[in-house]
């Protein structure tokens, strides 16, 4: 009886039909989310807190489609793992080894990207601070961040075209690192990133700095690279095979 149920469950997760049904379900939830997100005020805070913290506080009327998506994603992860392992076992003696392994590399990349979202969703950090030249704030980990200088380049018409800010990191009263922030150039220190979001040149130079920690980023990037390697190999193989 138990063995029979086990086989049925395994059969369910080993099926490509399951993949298609789960993806269709995810699409439905995403469509619902795309309609709810722009009109529900609960989503104003979603970018500022880790996903799982937001989910624990958001009303169900805003979060049901995300909870549903997460449930389907868990099933899709099991489905992906089961199908990949099964494929590798069944086709290991096949001649076109690359053709067998390339989709599994893509699947690994996809799973790593999901791990990235999971890690960030559990323990990300984000906070915004206003600075003037000389202002200091305490970051997590008891580090002091000081903005020592703010520079803004303006066009003749007064349009800001570039900006940067010099920063110092102080630990226990000692200067441990001097760096700078600029657009697309954050300053990193002990896992935290300082981002120069906005500057104001007049009447007093001021900057808006965001301190973030995105622990899932390396996972997501690694997953993206692995995903692309698998995809490029598979595209190459499929195209040459068709020809």
């Amino acid at each position: 009886m138990v063995k029979n149920i086990g086989n049925k469950v395994l059969g369910f997760f080993l099926s490509l039909k399951t993949t298609v049904v789960l993806m269709l379900g995810l699409l439905m939830f995403f469509v619902a989310g795309a309609l709810i997100m722009p009109v529900h005020s609960a989503f104003e805070s979603i970018t500022w807190v880790p996903l799982f913290e937001w989910l624990s506080e958001a009303p169900l009327s805003a979060s049901w489609w995300l909870l549903g998506s997460l449930a389907l994603l868990v099933a899709l992860v099991l489905n992906t793992l089961a199908c990949s392992i099964d494929s590798l076992i069944k086709k290991r003696s096949g001649r076109q080894w690359l053709l067998v392994i390339a989709p599994q590399i893509i699947h690994i990349g996809f799973l790593l990207m999901l791990v990235g979202h999971l890690v960030s969703g559990l323990s990300g950090y984000k906070e915004m601070f206003p600075f003037q030249e000389g202002t200091m704030v305490r970051m997590p980990g008891n580090i002091i961040l000081k903005v020592s200088q703010i520079d803004v380049t303006l066009t003749k018409e007064g349009y800001p075209i570039d900006w940067r800010a010099a920063v110092d990191y102080i630990d226990n009263g000692k200067l441990v690192k001097s760096d700078y922030m600029a657009p697309n150039r954050p300053s990193f220190f002990r896992g935290y990133g300082a981002y120069l979001k906005q500057v104001r040149p007049y009447p007093i130079k001021a900057a808006l700095v965001e301190i973030t920690r995105e622990p899932g980023a390396p996972w997501a990037l690694g997953g993206g690279v692995v995903f692309m390697i698998g995809t490029i190999v598979l595209v190459g193989l499929k195209m040459s095979r068709e020809q």
Partner: protein, 236 residues
């Protein structure tokens, strides 16, 4: 702008006489190069530039498909029609001419947008091929649609990864919860569904071809609909 208007007329008359599509393509490509040289960057900011780029990319990729297989007259009529529509809509939009905000002044952004629109062009071609297949039932055309979608999906995935890297460097996060990101994921998932569903006997053939056509509707909504109708991190 005059060159873009000229390319519009070539595409329009290209629906009747195929060589004019290529004249339109040459004029439009010249216009994009001219704008790029004038601006000192890849002209891929705003709806005007991206629609012109999308239209030119459609014709460029169709040249590759033609080398693989002789295509029907209907294919070229639909191709010219699509390019006419995109160019007409581009003409209605004001070109972006002010200096770029510093956050957009990076190769990550340019690569992200370029890959997105190259993939959109391939998805557009796949939709045309899908309609051709649904009318003629030629299995080779359906295989071309699949190839077009698969390469487009790869470029789109690359575009999302590049966008994530850029967002991380610019904003401290590789993912923002906005309608644009959600629709982009939806689009990625949709074509992921196509690639998996096509492996199933029930979905192969006509149902997969229909999915390939519907996918381009999702592309157009993700590109134009979200930007026009919803508040998002992306202006286009």
């Amino acid at each position: 702008m005059i060159a873009a208007a000229v390319s519009f007329f070539f595409y329009l008359f290209g629906t009747m006489w195929r060589p004019l599509i290529y004249v339109g393509f040459a004029v439009q490509t010249g216009y994009l190069i001219y704008r790029g040289v004038n601006l000192g960057r890849i002209p891929l900011v705003g709806v005007h530039d991206t629609l012109n780029f999308l239209s030119a990319s459609l014709v460029a990729f169709s040249l590759g498909i033609q080398s693989a297989r002789k295509l029907s007259r209907e294919f070229y009529v639909m191709l010219a029609g699509m390019c006419t529509l995109f160019t007409a809509f581009a003409l209605l939009q004001k070109p972006y001419a002010t200096p770029l905000p510093p956050v957009l002044n990076t190769y990550w952004f340019e690569l992200h947008v370029a890959m997105s629109f190259l993939s959109y062009a391939l998805f557009g071609l796949a939709a045309i091929l899908g309609i051709s297949y649904l009318k003629n039932g030629d299995a080779a055309i359906e295989r071309l649609q699949y190839k077009s979608i698969f390469v487009g999906y790869s470029l789109f995935s690359l575009s999302m990864i590049l966008g994530g890297i850029w967002a991380f460097l610019a904003w401290g996060t590789y993912w923002l919860w906005t309608p644009k990101e959600l629709w982009t994921s939806l689009l990625w998932l949709f074509y992921g569904l196509y690639l998996h569903a096509r492996l199933r006997p029930w979905w192969s053939g006509r149902p997969a071809a229909v999915l390939g056509v519907v996918g381009f509707v999702v592309v157009l909504f993700t590109y134009l609909g979200v930007g026009l109708l919803m508040k998002s991190s992306h202006a286009f």
